[in-house]
């Protein structure tokens, strides 16, 4: 098990290195002057030259790459050109919104999807199964910004239980923060939970047809016992895969929901970075997201091995 994790860790590090090279190449090496791109067509030659100096664009490629890499390892992501503050500071502020939001949405999605999928699979073909399948179909089809607005309309405007948007900051109190993330988390979780519930259902139905379930029943386990004790864990592999993919998406893919709820999250930061041509912010954020995706993939791989002993031997 330890060797498995170690093997995976080595491949994680390699993936990160390769990703950093690709990102560096795409943003810095491709034709065109980043400084001119950032300043726009009408910028004076002097301004461009000054920015090139500031960005270190006059150094050799290798030096710039190592500089960038070394900076990131020490937490120095450079200075944002538009905000004039360190990128790391910007990212940390936003991460404190995006990360809890992503975790919150993921927890909701998992907590809803697993029992729902379990019920649908255990009562396959029943009215409960059909209604669950119908509801999840709807959950996938409905755009989440529309659902978000519906939530605002009901819970903020009409019932006044939650505020319609904005984030007070964690300094204002933990519960206040949680409360302001609740509606966005639900809006994000709905389509994810729908997908996850369907995956759970089909994985479980397949597992329930396996020979070892019949063996378990022949030992005297009831249908429910066989499902809980033997089928559930075996059905977790595809579910874990989807959970991993969903987390990566939730971390950076929440732009629309962040906009609907005026949340200062990572998605909005990337969007702003792109529209304001702040390549330093974009470059660092893309790297950060790649890191998050690779890390989650690593955790999912380790979770596979924890679930399935056949995967524990390092390959």
């Amino acid at each position: 098990m330890l060797r498995f994790a170690l093997t995976r860790f080595v491949s994680l590090t390699l993936s990160l290195l390769i990703a950093s090279l690709v990102i560096f190449a795409v943003i810095e090496v491709i034709p065109g002057d980043p400084a001119r791109y950032m300043l726009g067509i009408n910028a004076s030659e002097d301004a461009v030259a000054a920015l090139r100096e500031q960005l270190g664009l006059n150094d050799s490629l290798a030096l710039r790459y190592l500089d960038w890499l070394g900076g990131m390892l020490t937490g120095d992501f450079g200075l944002s050109y538009t905000y004039k503050v360190p990128v790391s500071e910007l990212v940390m502020q936003r991460l404190w919104v995006s990360l809890p939001l992503a975790l919150y949405a993921l927890a909701l999605s998992t907590l809803i999807a697993i029992p729902v999928g379990l019920i649908a699979a255990a009562r396959r073909g029943s009215a409960a199964d059909y209604s669950i399948m119908g509801a999840t179909q709807l959950g996938i089809a409905v755009p989440n910004f529309w659902f978000a607005m519906l939530l605002v309309l009901i819970f903020a405007v009409t019932l006044r239980w939650f505020s319609a948007g904005g984030f007070p900051g964690w300094d204002a109190g933990f519960w206040l923060g949680v409360k302001s993330l609740t509606l966005p988390a639900f809006a994000l979780a709905l389509p994810q939970a729908s997908i996850l519930a369907r995956v759970m259902r089909s994985a479980l139905i397949e597992t329930l047809g396996e020979d070892y379930i019949r063996t378990a029943r022949a030992k005297g386990l009831s249908r429910r016992q066989a499902t809980v004790r033997h089928a559930l864990r075996n059905a977790m592999i595809p579910v874990l895969t989807i959970i991993g993919l969903q987390f990566s998406f939730l971390l950076a893919g929440a732009i629309i929901i962040e906009n609907v709820f005026y949340l200062p999250g990572l998605g909005r930061l990337i969007f702003q970075g792109i529209t304001q041509r702040d390549l330093i912010v974009v470059e660092s954020l893309v790297m950060l997201l790649v890191f998050a995706v690779i890390l989650v993939t690593f955790l999912v791989d380790v979770a596979y091995a924890a679930v399935d002993p056949r995967l524990r031997r390092g390959r």
């Binding site: 060797r3 170690l6 093997t7 080595v10 396996e210 020979d211 070892y212 019949r214 063996t215 378990a216 029943r217 022949a218 030992k219 005297g220 386990l221 009831s222 016992q225 004790r229 033997h230 864990r233 075996n234 679930v307 399935d308 002993p309 056949r310 031997r313 390092g314 390959r315």
Partner: protein, 527 residues
């Protein structure tokens, strides 16, 4: 005493079982024999109360003074695993892959509240020792065990609570002959020592002949004949029993062809597989699946290759077909070296028929397209494509009108005939038959063997016939090679090898093969 009284079953309106009357005597082995689809397994599942949804069952399954068809599901859960245990055909998938074998055996005790966790694990250890796995740590996972060992674990689970009845549904069908012999011995021992009844379900007459005290023969959901074992075999009152018996010892009518020059030679062939790396940066290990195998196949000859699973038969086959590169030696066919670069035009001269009649066809292609696929090997595909397909289908006894149908419309035996037609279409010199009749019922198998023999005589074909089933190889080959752990341990004229085996391993294989005692058979029945 467990008794079935006029047990009838239909599933979604389709009748499956009709008026089954069978009593399973305590401490005895009752054999239930029949071909696939005869209702053997459904009978077992009806006793267990594990029938699929949509089942409509009538009659009675008596255990003590209860009728199991009328008791509650809760009561059935108490009985399953406790008073009736069951093991299944496929040991590779019958155990939960994510739980240790110790936990899975202990679960039988825990679920019936017979022991605390600690005590249950201790008893699980005892039971595993009882089935011959005393050396096996309880913390092993199923994937770390061989098929035979897994079947032993399944038996340990089923007998952990000392049930009155053990149902074994084709318990050895998926196992090698030597492993089969060990598992059957184990079952016999358990029945003797623990005094439990055994309901042994199998398609193999020889297995019941060696094991059972009482035999019932099933056909299309009915028991056509039942009696004590020896009288049943001696008399065989029902024509179906006779037919089944004749088919199982069927000898196709064939004469060896005059063997001319060699069409295929293998010279010291070596095939290595890479295995897991011993450490992160070390080169991968090697597993030698085929070790310096040499043989020659003449034109018109039928060469058998027997051995147990994992001995390298299939790997050798893939090398002969030029599908995998070899790491040493040389395979020559039609005077060219076989390998990934073997010219297609020559490749058309070597065709193959695989074991699984269900998995070896693309379900979305018509039979015409399936059968004519090897044409792409030829430099210029024939113009009269449909006529050639019709000819090949006629040759294997399938009506040419089948050409426009899809494969799911055919039975297993018909599919295997179509697979043979596909192999014949390029008019090859050599057909490799890789376990080609192993998945078929005995009566269908007999017909396909006849077909294989006839085609050889008509087209002067050479065969390489690969099988784990010694009796089939004996009936259809001129020469046989016995393979073990990647090496050919014995080779010779088939009859000589079977009547006078030289190598210990060959003797072990022959001895392990179940047989119906010769003196039970009337003259003339065993041709």
């Amino acid at each position: 005493m467990i008794g079935l009284e006029s047990l009838s079953l239909s599933i979604h309106g389709t009748p499956i079982l009709r008026d089954i009357d069978l009593s399973i005597a305590p401490g005895k082995v009752t054999g239930l024999v029949g071909e696939s689809g005869s209702g053997k397994s459904m009978t077992a599942l009806a006793i267990m109360g594990l029938l699929p949804n949509g089942s409509d069952v009538s009659g009675a399954v008596r255990l003590g003074d209860e009728n199991l068809l009328n008791v509650s599901e809760r009561r059935l859960c108490d009985i399953r695993g406790n008073r009736i245990g069951m093991i299944f055909q496929e040991p590779m998938t019958a155990l939960n892959p994510v739980k240790t074998i110790g936990d899975q055996v202990a679960e039988t005790l825990l679920i019936h509240g017979r022991a605390e966790r600690r005590e249950a694990r201790r008893i699980a250890g005892e039971k595993l020792a009882r089935v011959g796995l005393g050396h096996m740590p309880l913390t092993r996972f199923p994937h770390e065990l061989s098929g035979g060992q897994r079947q032993r674990v399944a038996i340990a689970m089923a007998i952990a609570l000392h049930p009155e009845l053990l149902i074994a549904d084709e318990p050895t069908t998926a196992l090698d002959v030597t492993t089969q012999a060990q598992i059957l011995d184990l079952l016999n021992e358990i029945v003797d020592e623990e005094g439990m009844s055994l309901l042994l379900i199998t398609h193999d007459l020889a297995v019941v002949a060696g094991m059972a005290d009482h035999v019932a023969v099933m056909k299309e959901g009915e028991i056509v004949e039942q009696d004590a074992t020896e009288p049943l075999f001696r008399n065989m009152n029902h024509p179906y029993t006779k037919a089944l018996f004749a088919a199982s010892s069927h000898q196709p009518d064939r004469k060896p062809l005059p063997v001319t020059d060699a069409i295929l030679t293998a010279d010291a062939v070596v095939r290595d597989y890479p295995t897991a790396r011993p450490s992160l940066f070390a080169p991968p290990g090697r597993f030698r699946a085929v070790n310096e195998v040499s043989f020659t196949l003449g034109k018109g000859e039928s060469l058998g290759l027997v051995g147990e699973s994992g001995c390298g038969k299939s790997t050798l086959t893939r090398a002969i077909l030029g599908l995998d590169p070899i790491q040493g030696g040389r395979i020559t066919a039609f005077e060219r070296e076989v390998g990934p670069d073997f010219p297609n035009a020559l490749r058309a001269g070597i065709q193959v028929v695989f074991q699984d009649p269900y998995g070896s066809f693309n379900p979305r292609w018509t039979v015409e397209r399936l059968v004519s696929e090897p044409f792409h090997l030829m430099p210029s595909p024939p113009k009269d494509r449909r006529a050639r397909v019709a000819e090949a289908l006629t040759d294997v006894g399938i009506d040419p009108s089948a050409m426009d149908r899809y494969i799911h419309e055919f039975s297993g035996g018909q599919r295997q005939r179509i697979a043979i037609a596909r192999a014949l279409i390029t008019k090859p010199d050599l057909i490799v038959l890789d376990e080609a009749v192993s998945a078929l019922d005995v009566s269908v198998r007999a017909q396909v063997l006849d077909l294989i023999a006839r085609l050889q005589a008509e087209h002067g074909l050479s065969y390489i016939f690969i099988s784990h089933d010694l009796s089939v190889v004996r009936s259809i080959t001129d020469r046989v090679m016995v393979m073990r752990a990647g090496e050919i341990v014995e080779e010779g004229v088939t009859e000589t090898v079977f009547t006078d085996p030289q190598h210990d391993y060959t003797r072990t294989l022959i001895a392990a093969t179940p047989r119906i005692p010769d003196d039970w058979q009337e003259d003339g029945q065993h041709a």
